[in-house]
Amino acid sequence: MAEINALVGKAAVLDGLPEHPAVKAIQAWNPEALVDAKFDRDELTLTIAAEEIRAAAATVQAVGYNFFVDLTAVDWFPSSPRFQLSYHILSHAYKERIRLRVLLEGESPSLESITPVWPAANFYEREVFDLFGIRFGGHPNLRRILMPDDWVGHPLRKDYPVEGYR
């Protein structure tokens, strides 16, 4: 098996990839917003403070990460912080993808929607709301998208059973 070269931690990434456009832009904009970073299996993950996500999205968009690919969540129940949001952003110019990661505390967390930056996030944020119960402030139409409107619970949470009674 090939060896995995990884940079773990904010200091290691800032040291190892100082010229990376996304890292540079975030550092120039607000070094405090970058909580943690990781470069693993050729994928760069930047952990952003939850309240700064919209501004961070606008920042990386301005330096050429022009295409919103994907947004989803991971439930790390029962550890804390419980939820992780992963935004995947693609750059057509650099031919590279980055991941913005947000960690959220609490049972029913909320954060700012990035739909003003990328309207494409609309359905994805609705999906995360539907299946994980994370709310997005400023979303134009935050309703359930896959489950019926009168459904109780959020199926992709880890405390929601795969089969049997809820």
Binding site: T45, V69, T72, H88, R97, F123, L131, R143, L146, D150
Partner: protein
């Protein structure tokens, strides 16, 4: 899914709604290619607002994945998109192989490319047939399904299944292809370009077909990027980006092909781009056949890849590995990966999170048409009601992958 609530529980449009009528298209409508409900607000015959209601086919595949071993997820990925099962297999396998840092032998990679392109042909043939049928050109459907049948027979030869192939496995392929397989593929693609000409003869010069598509469903390049549109609809809007060429995977960097792009952004451009893509796929398949390397079709990783039947019956270690993989699965190092591929409908992505056990902690699928559906309103707004059918056909949706 919207069962008990008011029909248009979405923010109201500007101005008076007195003269507007709300019309439901679907969930059971032949032109929606599945169970899609479009809530249309119309002023006479002009679309004022359009709102897709999805979720009718939601089966919770992502949740099911969390309860299965890594190798048991492969058959689930087939069922997401029944028109391009191999694309889903490939994307999932590549993601897990990235987590495992597994080297895939050249022959397996080339067969994967070959079959991915056959999948693209298969998917585009169904799209072409049904799209033309929606518009009223019934004949083409019969022609495209004739060739699709040939492709399904090839799939059957290689995997034993026509549609739910599950042929790509973590670490390589399920089986050696049968002896005459490459010859059969060669015969098929030798005659296929003529068949594309045949479809083109039926449609490209057809004034009715042209009038229904030309200038309809316009999407600008900026809108395509803002709304997350990928694949042929994005390239038909003038954005020149294809993951196969720009971020190659599974050995695509060794193939020469063009990426068709058009700047018109209408349904007609999407039709031409897909037709051109089929010709390029034939070129890729030809190159894959010509340069097919020799060697194994499975990675050398006995703890991950199931042993050959012969070995299993003669060697004790192989039998132990087989037993262990089947009963306990294999542990995957902790981490998260995102693997994107260019599926027939656009950028497909699998996001796999591992916590170091034998079951994936989280599997998320980014399916191209889920995002493309968001652009439907932009494409249809201000157009006639009848154009919705043409536009829905031109973005080539599959509800199975949207709802998952």
């Amino acid at each position: 899914m919207n069962s008990g609530t008011p029909i248009l529980d979405v923010p109201a449009a500007e101005g008076s709604r007195d003269q507007h009528m709300v019309l439901n298209m679907g969930p059971q409508h032949p032109a929606t290619h599945g169970v899609l409900r479009l809530v249309l607000e119309i002023d006479g015959e002009i679309i004022v607002r359009l709102y897709p209601e999805i979720g009718y086919l939601h089966t919770g595949i992502e949740k099911t994945c969390e309860a299965k071993f890594y190798q048991q997820v492969v058959p689930l990925t087939d069922r997401i998109d029944y028109l391009s099962p191999m694309a889903n297999n490939l994307c999932y396998c590549l993601a897990v192989e990235k987590l495992l840092a597994l080297e895939i032998p050249g022959k397996a990679q080339w067969i994967r490319v070959l079959l991915s392109e056959l999948t693209r042909l298969n998917s585009h043939l169904v799209w072409l047939g049904t799209h033309a049928m929606d518009i009223g050109a019934l004949t083409v459907f019969l022609y495209t399904f004739r060739e699709r049948e040939d492709i399904l027979r090839l799939f059957e030869a290689v995997s034993g299944q026509r549609m739910m192939t599950s042929y790509f496995r973590i670490g390589g392929l399920a089986l050696e292809p049968p002896l005459d397989f490459f010859h059969r593929v060669e015969t098929f693609i030798h005659s296929f370009p003529e068949k594309i000409d045949e479809y083109s003869n039926l449609l490209t010069g057809n004034p009715i077909f042209k009038n229904r598509l030309k200038g309809v469903g316009y999407l600008s390049a900026a809108d395509a990027i803002a709304l997350g549109v990928t694949g042929p609809p994005m390239r038909a809007s003038g954005v020149d980006f294809d993951l196969r060429r720009d971020m190659p995977y599974s050995g695509y960097e060794k193939f020469q092909f063009r990426v068709p792009v058009s700047s018109d952004g209408d349904c007609w451009a999407r039709y031409l781009v897909r037709l051109e893509e089929m010709r390029e796929s034939v070129r890729i398949i030809q190159q894959a056949l010509d340069g097919m390397p020799e060697g194994p079709i499975k990675a050398d990783a006995p703890r991950i890849v199931l042993p050959d039947r012969e070995k299993m019956k003669t060697q004790m270690e192989a039998l132990i590995h087989h037993f262990k993989i089947v009963t306990e699965g294999f542990a995957v190092p902790a981490g998260e990966v995102y693997q994107g591929i260019e599926s027939p409908r656009g950028q497909m992505g699998y996001y796999v999170v591992s916590d170091g056990t034998a079951k994936p902690y989280r599997v998320h699928m980014r399916n191209p048409t889920f995002a493309t559906l968001q652009a439907l309103e932009t494409m249809c707004k201000g157009r006639m009601l009848a154009d919705v059918v043409a536009v829905v056909g031109s973005i080539d949706i599959v509800l199975g992958e949207i709802d998952r």
